[in-house]
Amino acid sequence: MEAGTTAPHVGHDPHDHIHPPPEGFIRKYVFSLDHKVIAFQYFITGLLFMLIAGSFAELIRLQLWEPNGAIMSHNAYDTMFTIHGTAMVWLVVIPLVTGALGNFVMPLQIGARDVAFPWLNMLSFWILPVAGLTLFSTFLAGGAHAGWTEYPPISLADGTAGALWCAAIFLVGISSTITGLNFMVTIIKMRAPGMTWTRMPLFIWASFATAFMNMFATVALSSALFALFLEHVFNVPFFDANRGGSAVLYEHMFWFYSHPAVYIFILPAFGVISEILPVFARKPIFGYKMIAFSSLAIAILSFAVWAHHMFPSGISPWLQLTFMIITYAIGVPTGIKVFSWIATLWAGRIHFTTAMLYAMGFLITFTFGGITGIFLASVPADFHEHGTYFVVAHFHYVVAGGALMGFLAAIPYWYPKATGRLMSERMGRWSFWLFFIGFNATFFPMHWLGLEGMPRRYASYVAFATGNPDAVFWNQFETVFSFLMVVSIGLLAWNMIWSIRHGKPAGINPWGARTLEWTISSPPPYYNFRKIPIVYDRPYDFDKPLPYRNLDNDIDAYPEPSPVLLRQEPVRAGA
């Protein structure tokens, strides 16, 4: 009550009411209601799952060292790619981009003290480790084999493991739905006074579109998996052709979620890029409204394109035509975003921080993934490319080169806010280049392997290698370079651990950024904002003073990157 009364136009009392931080280890770090702590929980959990799913990826690559399968049985290989895909999609990327990043950044950027329903937020985090354990417990039941899409009827052969798989992903679906709902309400209702829709930072626009999809699409996934679970356990014939069911029905139900899912991955990354580019190019984002509205357009259109995953899978020709056209249409808003980002770079004063390197790497790899998406969206071309390594290459460019790269850009960018220390720029540059080179060298050759005829999910490719002897070379090439990504992620992890103790103190605003989270201390206090700030413009006008009133701290009206950064020195231990 005490501080807020002095400020004019603060609005009403609830904004001045600050809860005391919780006491005790359990309330503080385990069952915490604080969005920042929950974000760290998501982050650590996601990274642990990434360790497992990533090591499966390396096992997959090692298996493909020889055409005949170098290290494991076909059965084991099938489990590897199934769990790799499942875990990467639902236990790594979605928790990281919505759970960790969204939870940490979103309430800070809209000037809120927490999300709308902190208790639900805690619940949706704690569902995740349970779901993860359930997923990995499929190994005890013989393993799930049918790929991350888990198409029946083949997935029904997995028995208990398949049912457990459904249960695990059903739980993740519940968790995502709750998060989406929570974020929707938070963004609609809890923005700081004066932050109108067109004054929101672009990350918030992206989070809003993501939350919208999370809330609606994920329930469809849960339904599909519920139906599959019923078929597993109670033999209910939704998908069994012998009793009138249809395997194609599952594909519809599954992709109705899983196409929006790829936008759930990528939109937060779009948001991150839209934040990082203007800060390090030191100029306003180009085409704010176009970027913001194209996020929404993508979110809405993404519900109407799912069947492009099913062109050869048994849908009528007229459906193929319709979905091809809508899929092409979604290329337009995506293109607008990319062009606007490039225009943001034009005539900037570009600082090559680690975050900026990742953001620019994102522009290149994501654009490439988007273009191969155009190839796959065309029905005739898809008839050739479907089910091959071309598809594998495409979605790794979009998910790893897009969503993950965006997330990797976000880590060095918001790390100082989260911990109060800057990460080592030198290690950061190394980890960027290792990742960028390793990533492209691993996935780029997959394009032509796929076009030449290498189908995906093959534990051995003897017949293909007989016809295309260079396939062995390229697979070994990919395997070697895929380990660069491992080194890069390891270095990143080490950088994060090292910098907690040895990183340079970050101060309130090391990057000279202008969104609200950079006006409070690093790490943010429990209540985020002692006084809720008032917003009277967009955060991107570098030539104008900061558009906020009522800030907690004394900060420059024209924030600049800290001198540490301007010299771009390698950060030394103990500095």
Partner: protein, 369 residues
């Protein structure tokens, strides 16, 4: 609360678009034109050595579409990556620049935005139009088929059925044959799980979905022997679910079909089960059956059920076909294969079993107590 005052930042910007912008743009454009000419007029297998030669009329259409898409795709990527790299170099912050400098403040350029929305849209409309043309040809463009054949996916082989041929042709033992110059319709379905029929050289693929018949229509144009692969995950041996496709002249095709008919007519004779040898059956089991079956109780499944105590386990008769598992019944499954609630098993042609092999296996299986 009160923000400390700092001097207003100074904008640093280039004259025009930036040093060397237009020559660079022209260079990118020239690169694009060269690429476009190369890809439109050179054969694809010249650019990509492993690119398989199209052997049907539809495959050629798809390759044409692919070339156009490559031109557009390369152009977009070339400009995006090209300008990212160029701006990164030209507009980098120079060392020693005063602290407060910022880039040029531009929020919008409606004209530019209009064009970069319209041009990609037009490109996409063109690509959609081209795709629709090829799509139409694929779906409706092939005339009345001179040959209609069926492909049935099984775990883990393709079964081919030809009109007038009483038996089937199996992908493990024999190739699929198609005649040159005749419109073909391939009907595709599955007996168990979802498979996908694909030969890279014909470019088209279709999922074999249980309970659903899909079709592919085209006219083969060039001879040769090509790989057929299953491209939808279908189980443990998905990656060895391979076959061969032989495209040959209509005469040769007719000869091949006649030979198949003769072979089918000569088949069908009783198998001498009494002459079975359990010892060679055991060796054969290890070689042909042990990938899917263990010598274990019935419910210890690998792909198929465990086969210990085949004749005295009470679970067997109820779960298989209601018959008590006699020698004849085991032989029948080995001969015809099995498709049902507990899975699917290939038949003798698919497994490559001779009469004597079957007799040996039966002798071995009934000897397991």
């Amino acid at each position: 609360m009160a923000q400390t005052t700092a001097p207003q930042p100074q904008q640093i910007g280039p004259k025009g678009m930036g040093p060397g912008f237009w020559p660079y743009t022209i260079a990118l454009t020239v690169l694009n034109v060269i690429f476009a000419l190369l890809i439109l007029f050179a054969p694809l297998d010249f650019i990509m050595p492993g690119w398989s030669h199209p052997v049907t009329d539809r495959a050629a259409d798809i390759d044409g579409l692919f070339k156009f898409m490559s031109v557009f795709g390369f152009a977009i990527f070339c400009y995006v990556a090209g300008y990212v790299a160029y701006f990164a170099i030209v507009f980098r912050r120079r060392p020693g620049e005063p602290a407060g400098t910022i880039g040029v403040v531009v929020h919008d350029a409606p004209k530019l935005e209009f064009w970069w929305t319209v041009i990609p849209s037009v490109l996409l409309v063109i690509l959609t139009g081209l795709s629709i043309v090829v799509w139409y040809k694929i779906q409706f463009g092939t005339g009345a088929p001179a040959l209609t054949m069926e492909v049935i996916g099984h775990q883990f082989y393709f079964e081919y059925r030809y009109p007038g041929l009483k038996g089937s042709v199996y992908s493990q033992t024999d190739a699929m044959h198609l005649p040159i110059g005749k419109p073909v319709r391939i009907l595709i379905t599955s007996a168990d799980v979802i498979h996908q029929f694909w030969a890279p050289e014909i470019r088209l693929k279709a999922a074999a979905v249980p309970g659903l018949v899909q079709n592919l229509n085209f006219t083969p144009t060039a001879p040769g022997t090509f790989d057929v692969a299953c491209s939808e995950y279908c189980g443990v041996d998905h990656s060895v679910m391979q076959g061969k496709l032989v495209i040959e002249s209509a005469d040769k095709f007719e000869k091949w079909l006649a030979a198949q008919k003769q072979r089918a007519a000569a088949g069908a004779h009783p198998i001498p089960l009494a002459r079975g040898n359990a010892a060679s059956g055991k060796a054969l089991f290890a070689q042909k059956c042990s990938a899917c079956h263990a010598i274990a109780p019935f419910d210890k499944k690998i792909v198929g059920p465990g086969l210990a105590k085949l004749t005295d386990d009470p679970q067997h008769p109820t779960l298989v076909t209601g018959k008590s598992p006699t020698r004849d019944h085991i032989a029948e499954i080995l001969e015809n294969g099995y498709t049902g609630p507990i899975g699917a098993m290939p038949n003798r042609q698919a497994n490559g079993l001779s009469d004597q092999n079957i007799a040996d296996l039966v002798a071995y299986l009934v000897s397991l107590k």
